[in-house]
Every structure is written in structure tokens, then in C-alpha cells.
């Protein structure tokens, strides 16, 4: 059975780009779930079994940091690895994301090979 992934980004372009990168990697992906903001992301997490979350930070309604904070408050959700994919380059913010439990940080635009390597390390 493949890994179920949740991709949370307000940009349809990035959601499709992440899904495509996963589909051409040799990772065994099960279902793809999508959300346009943190609130929708939490709804998907409540409704589905998710193995890994890819999230942007800068999103309307509920941003990625707020979503991750909510995930950390719930025992079941706090164990799901989160990869943040963002344009953020501030060292302080990247460190604070890791302190919050974010397992990996990828800068946009990411290189597919680097993306696949990071995901494999987290899932295996």
C-alpha cells in the first residue's frame, strides 16, 4: 500500500508541481489529497489517513504555521511528518519551523531530485 500525501498550498501550480514530482519519483504513492489553506488541510487530516504533509507557509485564511501548531496539539496528527515548501529564506523563521516539529524545509523552486531525496529519508 502506498503513502497517502496531503499537499497544502494556495497555488494550484505548486500543488500540481508537487504531485507531479512525487508521481515521477520512485516513491510508492497511494492517494493524493489537496488543500488550499491550513483550515482545509486540517479538514483533510481529520477525514483521511495521511502519511506525509507538504505545506506552504504563506496562505490565506489559515497559514501553514497556524496549521502546524494545530497539528502539534493533536496526538495523532503530531506524529505525521510535515515538509514545508516555501519562498521563506529567513534563517530565524526556518529554525523556528524546525523547533515546531517541521521535519524538512524546501525552498521554492525546488529541484525534483532534492525533493525526492528528502521525502525518501522521511518515509523510509
Amino acid at each position: 500500500m502506498g503513502y497517502n500525501v496531503l499537499i497544502v498550498d494556495n497555488s494550484m501550480i505548486i500543488r500540481k508541481m508537487v504531485a507531479k514530482t512525487l508521481s515521477i519519483s520512485d516513491l510508492d504513492i497511494g492517494e493524493y489529497y489537496f488543500a488550499e489553506n491550513g483550515r482545509q488541510g486540517l479538514e483533510q487530516l481529520d477525514a483521511n489517513w495521511i502519511d506525509i504533509v507538504f505545506a506552504d507557509i504563506n496562505m490565506p485564511e489559515m497559514n501553514g504555521i497556524e496549521m502546524i501548531e494545530q497539528m502539534q496539539k493533536q496526538e495523532m496528527l503530531s506524529t505525521i511528518p510535515v515538509v514545508v515548501i516555501s519562498t521563506e529564506r529567513s534563517r530565524q523563521r526556518i529554525e523556528s519551523l524546525k523547533a515546531m516539529g517541521v521535519r524538512a524545509y524546501l525552498q521554492k523552486p525546488f529541484v525534483p531530485e532534492e525533493f525526492a531525496r528528502v521525502v525518501k529519508e522521511l518515509l523510509h
Binding site: M17, R89, P109
Partner: protein, 155 residues
């Protein structure tokens, strides 16, 4: 920061982002003709940023055809397969990435900036000509089509 330095920074940032993101190439275009509107309709996108003591915005105006090509290249798909609003979203994502890159290049990675959600709107021939003429943007060529860019630091 001098205008020339600002323009050089915009060229550097847009060149790097277009190339990394979409395999498209950017060069400076110092002599854009305001009367040449064959590239219209265009799209304008803007993103603002704010830190503890700085704020401003980054803007880009590009032909809709360039935005479509950008979307095709990012998604690896043909134009007739592009999803709805792909052109707008490709331009806003390009601007989003460029803004993060530009702020790090200009101010380093110690400062924390909050970015807005980028917004887009259409630009017609009349407005395009006015933007080229007013000379407040740097003019670039993306695979031989024009792109206007502006970085404004308000405080």
C-alpha cells in the same frame, strides 16, 4: 539604493527564478517602445512585504502569452491542457518566489519578512503603454517578450 543597482538586482533575481522555475531566459531590454502593444493583453501581479522596520512591494507586468508559457513549463504540459487561471497563478507564484529571493539578496537572511498573498489583474494596451513610458519599471526580455518589474521600498 541607486536605480542602477536596483535594476541590476531585479535582472539577477528574475533571471535566476525564470531559469530555475521554468527554463526561460531573461535579459535586459533598455529600449522598449511604449507604442508597441502587440504583446497585450498583459497581466500585472503584485506582492507586498513587511518586516519590523521595512515594507514595500514587488510588481511584475507580463504578456498573458508569457504567463501561459511560464505555466506550461512549470507544469510540463501543453497550452490546451492548462487548468483555468494557470497564467495568473504562474505569474503570482513566480513573483512570490522572486520576492523571497530578492529580499534575501538585498537584506540577508537574518531579517524576518511577512509576505502578502500576491494579487493579479489584467492590463490593457493603454495602460501597458503608459507603464512603459513612465519609466518607473525595469524592462526585461523573457524569451524575447517584454516584462516590466518594479521593486519599491517604502520605508
Amino acid at each position: 539604493m541607486k536605480t542602477q543597482d536596483n535594476n541590476a538586482l531585479l535582472l539577477e533575481v528574475f533571471s535566476a527564478v525564470f531559469e530555475e522555475f521554468a527554463f526561460m531566459f531573461v535579459e535586459a531590454e533598455p529600449d522598449l517602445d511604449p507604442g508597441d502593444t502587440r504583446y497585450c493583453p498583459c497581466l500585472q501581479a503584485e506582492i507586498s512585504f513587511e518586516s519590523r522596520d521595512k515594507k514595500g512591494f514587488l510588481e511584475a507586468v507580463a504578456p498573458a502569452d508569457v504567463c501561459a508559457e511560464l505555466a506550461e513549463n512549470i507544469l510540463g504540459t501543453e497550452q490546451d491542457e492548462l487548468p483555468e487561471q494557470a497564467e495568473e497563478q504562474a505569474l503570482t507564484e513566480l513573483l512570490n518566489v522572486s520576492c523571497g529571493y530578492l529580499l534575501a539578496e538585498r537584506f540577508g537572511t537574518e531579517e524576518v519578512f511577512d509576505l502578502s498573498i500576491p494579487q493579479t489583474r489584467p492590463v490593457d494596451e493603454q495602460e501597458w503603454s503608459a507603464l512603459v513610458e513612465e519609466d518607473s519599471h525595469v524592462c526585461l526580455l523573457v524569451d524575447e517578450s517584454p516584462l516590466l518589474a518594479r521593486f519599491v521600498l517604502q520605508q
